[in-house]
């Protein structure tokens, strides 16, 4: 009687064992199932915040390979303004954003020279879905849709962000809040890309 590997349960026949052909063929089936075909949307990075912080960085990215990124953020907020910077472009003047906020029975619109990804109230639950792309001429474009609470109202909004400078690649995404330790423990960020 042979043995099985610990993770994928691949069969290893014993010396002198006979009739193991089917089990070895099953190995190839397991490998075939678990080897991943290219071109699927997969988790590229995943972060669960262990301690309160004011920045979450997703590093070692490559949007030229991964085509685009889809970022999902689940958080319990600790601040009001959350920004999304790429690479090492931390100066707000590198970005421009437009926003639509809906709350109560009204909507408001605005814009600013910064990468504002979403707004919230401290201690509000937040869901953010953001699509991140790099245009063929090198601008980073971000569209975020979010739901949260702000100013005492349940809100939903959209922000669109564009860099005013071009980049060759997007290798780093940073979520930054304005207030000290405003990204609370337990916040989860999942980044999907084409792999």
């Amino acid at each position: 009687m042979g043995k099985y590997t610990p993770r994928f349960s691949l069969y290893k026949p014993d010396i002198g064992e006979v009739n193991w052909g089917d089990k070895i063929n099953r190995n190839f089936d397991i490998i075939d199932e678990n080897l991943n075909p290219p071109g699927l949307l997969r988790v590229v990075k995943e972060v669960t915040v262990k301690e309160d912080t004011n920045i979450v960085e997703l590093t070692d990215l490559d949007i030229n390979t991964h085509k685009f990124y889809w970022m999902i953020i689940n958080m319990f907020s600790g601040a009001k303004m959350y920004y999304c910077c790429i690479n090492d472009l931390r100066d707000p003047d590198f970005y421009y954003h437009l926003h639509t906020w809906r709350y109560k029975g009204q909507a408001s619109y605005g814009e600013a020279d910064d990468p504002l990804l979403f707004i919230s109230d401290p201690e509000a639950p937040v869901q953010v879905s953001a699509i991140i792309t790099r245009s063929p001429n090198g601008y980073c474009l971000i569209r975020s849709e979010f739901i949260t609470e702000h100013a005492g109202y349940f809100w939903d909004g959209e922000h669109v962000i564009r860099t005013v400078v071009t980049v060759d690649n997007i290798t780093k995404i940073a979520i930054i809040c304005e207030d000290y330790l405003g990204i609370k423990k337990g916040t989860k960020v999942v980044l999907l890309g084409v792999v």
């Binding site: 699927l40 949307l41 709350y103 869901q127 809100w155």
Partner: protein, 195 residues
């Protein structure tokens, strides 16, 4: 004497070779160690309604494992509302939310309860796309983007909710119509999560 594959160094015994067992067993260890099954967005549940019904249940879910859900519904409206309840929480007042409808050059929005994700004309072809998350504190959060027909107009709608209560996990989604047979035969429901 056999040969080795270029990437993983897997041994390939020659025809008629003997004593290759240990080397082939090493292959399985190499594969088990080096093959990583990347997680990606995959179908967790898929339902095609085979006969008219009031309720569709997506059960045996585990959002803690699947991170978030994308719920896509393709249906013909029977009029009235469709709710998307979490687990067995049917208390409409627990779902705090808001809606935005845009149709005929007009936009209306306001507060809403009850996890309603559709309010449409009878016989309206309808597409609903929801992003569903739990925030770190356990609030159910839902954002639904809807294309349908309302009051005779082609309508782009959005519904967003969160629960006041919290939950440890989301294991069930219950789609419930306010009218009998809200889900007609042929309704298609696909739920994706990270697997």
């Amino acid at each position: 004497m056999g040969t080795y594959t270029p990437n993983l160094g897997l041994y390939k015994p020659d025809v008629g070779e003997v004593g290759w067992g240990d080397k082939v067993n090493e292959n399985w260890d190499k594969i088990d160690e080096k093959v990583t099954a990347l997680e990606g967005l995959k179908i967790v549940k898929e339902i095609v309604v085979d006969s008219d019904t009031d309720t569709v249940v997506l059960d045996e879910l585990d959002i803690n494992k699947h991170r978030f859900y994308i719920l896509i519904i393709s249906m013909i409206s029977s009029g009235g509302y469709v709710h998307c309840y979490a687990n067995d929480n049917f208390d409409n007042t627990d779902y705090v939310g808001r809606y935005t409808w845009e149709y005929n050059g007009y936009s209306s929005s306001g507060g809403r309860t009850g996890a309603v994700i559709l309010d449409a004309d009878v016989d309206a072809p309808t597409q609903i796309v929801c992003i569903i998350t739990l925030d770190p504190a356990g609030h159910y959060m839902l954002r639904a983007e809807v294309v349908t027909t309302y009051a005779g107009f082609y309508t782009d709608a959005r519904y967003t909710y969160r629960t006041k209560s919290t939950m440890d996990n989301l294991t069930k989604l219950v789609l419930k119509g306010s009218r009998s047979n809200s889900f007609r035969a042929g309704t298609k429901i696909v739920l994706l999560g990270v697997v």
